[in-house]
Amino acid sequence: MYAVEMVNIVKKFPGVLANDHVTIRVKKGEIHAIVGENGAGKSTLMNQLYGLYHPDEGEIFINGEKVTIRGPKDAIKNGIGMVHQHFMLVDTLTVAENVVLGSEPVKGLNFDMKKARQDVKDLSEKYGLFVDVDAKIEDIPVGMQQRVEIIKTLYRGANIIILDEPTAVLTPQEVEELFEIMRKLKDSGKTILFISHKLHEVMEISDRITVMRLGKVTGELETSKTNPKEIARHMVGREVVLRVTKEPHEPKEVVFEIKDLVVKDNRGLTAVNGISFNVRKGEIVGIAGVAGNGQTELVEAITGLRKIESGNIYFEGKDVTGFNPKQLRELGMAHIPEDRLKHGLIKEFEAYYNVILGQHYKYPFSNGTFLYHDNIFNYTKDLMEEFDVRPRKIDHLGGNFSGGNQQKLVVGREIKTNPKFLVVAQPTRGLDVGAIEFIHKQILKMRSLDAGILLISMELEEIFSLSDRILVMYEGEIMGEVKPEETTIEEVGLMMTGHRFEEVRRG
């Protein structure tokens, strides 16, 4: 008997196939982990179960019965509760008030605070979910806020509880407490869906695992019969994408170096924890890692977009720590950002304004005060020709190009500045095969022209086929450095899930 069955779920977003015929079956009373990299479609799938999105195709069965979930209300009616990655609590209300919010007990016409407090206390004791019912949310730690969220689902009668990356915000001790609670819930017959990309947690707590990659299910495993290596392989995928041929090329002197770099994320937690490495001219250094392990923060710190807590950055031997993006660009750094719609492009600007971003104040585009539109137009025409951007309309708005052509505009813009050092983050995310090959060739061309290149990618195939050296990042630290020809995908996959190079080699 399955508590949850989602069959052939298809969910499309503009330009993205988030769920591609996904089927998942969860047994009653088990802890079922859904594992995959960021962007694999885990949260999208669970949001459809909770009614926040509606599947384009496919069917959902709860306890064997076909259901249509139009919104969270329907989900709650079917006994489904969800604890989101970002808590949905009212900071200025108490724990008890938050739990009952939306289905408050009443006495006559009044809100029955006494009963609310008692109900929350009862639930808290029954499942070992320790909370202070009278404390305000803003005054309690994150771990307790999460317990409030879990009580909220129980208060609404949930038998199936979805936890979306619940450990991401917790300290190791809080994680242990959470696991204790999950076991208690399981013992009392609740079914738990647990989203994560941390393999040791999944190994510890789950009964069964569904692995997702790029919107598809790539593996259904029994936790007791599998190992991190196998999960990692399903997670990062093995299908061979085309490999571009890489000519041997002798690297020259060091162009870029970081020492003991520490950077915090938006929540103020340490995202990059004392990393050091260098990049030489004419070499590609790849950084592999599951998304969300500090790569984004590392790139932003290197390119001047994020504050550096401690450590140093050197460009051609010169200390450039704390330089802003303009100063770094002046020195000869270029950056192909991971999110082209956030950093890379201005959707409302025409192509010709997008391709001069970062160079717009310099000759031949400007004399410092006035723009030279003729030069800008001609430059854009040349760039679109050279990088095969379609449609070839220089006044097409940035947001109206397809993803691949937007990326070509960004890649073209950055490469045409003739950088000495190029930071390339997730350059082929969401692109088709043709565009991927084109962009890989451009990156290799920069290498042959003796630019130093730092490549950050979640695509292991991409890292393997382009890099001269590979660094593996996990929770803000470097797990090890390997050469692509001397390692295997499995070895790197293990390092990506938190095993140091020395452990991996020891076996």
Partner: protein, 344 residues
């Protein structure tokens, strides 16, 4: 091409719909709409005097419309044009009453410069607060409006007070008054309109032809991409607010130097807030703003004439309100247009 076409079409269609609705209302109150609109046109364009009056009413509306519209293009919502206009005019009035010793060639530009600088500085406070602390400019500019209003009323009832009756400041020196282009009876139309049109041209050039305009627009559209491209987001937010405030201060200057010749309460009279509507109708485009200001200016001037034949002058407020509603909700109009095209 299509985008530009829509930018013109939406306000024009909105005005036509507004006129259609007002026609129905005029019929419902038992008047003849043709007579009413005839009176409206006669009142705003029917005589030299009417035209001069329309131009006088239009001038400050162009400038406050430009102020707000420029802010929108830069991604800031400057609701404080009113306060910036008041402060600019008030401080300029204080200085210009002593400019009798200066020739007009110096006194006029100097007075304008003072009003613009004060407007710019006053708006820059909100810009600075937004850039440094994230305080939203809508909130801060509204608060700054009240500070300006009460400060001005203190000044004209206290330190600057002259005469009795309406609180007002002393008259500015003759040499600081704008030259008069046209004089019809008691109505004097000053060169303010020329200043307003020059300001619109300036805004067009700044936004479309300069690196500063490029940077300001980039920050307004996508601050993340702007920062990535080496553009300072905080600097450009402050700059955008300052330029917007300078235009509002200029509106204060033309009212002071071309119309009232002294500071008094009705000098601003909500024209800073009108700027928001005008920027909306004009689609934040300098030329569109000139037309929108003329539309509103003409409606207001003509409304008195309409009142004479028994149609309440508030009818123009209804027209104005409907136009603003439709332009703000331009999706409604667009949807209707697109559906029509599909049906064809």
């Amino acid at each position: 091409m299509n985008k530009k076409f829509m930018a013109i079409l939406v306000p024009v269609v909105s005005v036509l719909i507004a006129l259609a609705i007002s026609t129905i209302i005029i019929i419902l109150i038992g008047k003849n709409p043709i007579d009413a609109y005839g009176a409206l046109i006669k009142g705003s364009f029917g005589s030299k005097q009417a035209i001069a009056d329309t131009v006088i009413k239009t001038t400050p509306l162009i400038l406050t419309g430009l102020a707000v519209g420029f802010g929108f293009r830069a991604g800031v919502f400057n609701i404080g044009a009113e306060g910036q206009m008041v402060m600019g005019a008030l401080i300029a009035a204080t200085f210009a009453s002593n400019f009798g010793f200066l020739p007009p060639l110096i006194a006029i530009p100097l007075t304008i410069l003072i009003a613009m600088s004060v407007g710019a500085g006053y708006a820059a406070i909100a810009g600075f607060l937004k850039a440094k602390t994230g305080a939203h400019e809508v909130v801060t500019t509204i608060m700054l409006n009240w500070i300006a209003t009460y400060f001005a009323s203190y000044m004209v009832t206290g330190p600057l007070k002259v005469g009795s009756g309406t609180p007002k400041s002393p008259e500015i020196a003759d040499s600081a008054q704008l030259p008069i282009l046209m004089k019809v009876g008691a109505i004097e139309m000053s060169a303010g309109i020329i200043i307003a049109i020059i300001a619109a041209i300036f805004m067009y050039i700044l936004l479309n032809k300069t690196t500063t305009g490029y940077e300001i627009k980039a920050v307004g559209f996508n601050p993340y991409a702007a920062e990535y491209g080496g553009i300072s987001v905080s600097k450009n937010i402050v700059l955008a607010m300052a330029i917007s405030g300078a235009l509002a201060g200029l509106a204060g200057a033309t009212e002071l130097m071309g119309v009232h010749h002294r500071f008094l309460g009705e000098l601003s009279g909500g024209k800073g807030f009108d700027g928001i509507s005008i920027a909306l109708i004009g689609q934040n485009n300098p030329i569109g703003i000139i037309f929108a200001a003329f539309l509103i200016g003409a409606l207001r001037t003509g409304s008195n004439e309409m009142q004479f034949i028994g149609v309440p002058k508030h009818m123009v407020m209804i027209i104005q309100g409907i136009v603003i509603f439709l332009v703000a909700a331009d999706r409604i109009v667009r949807t209707i247009m697109i559906r029509k095209r599909v049906e064809k």
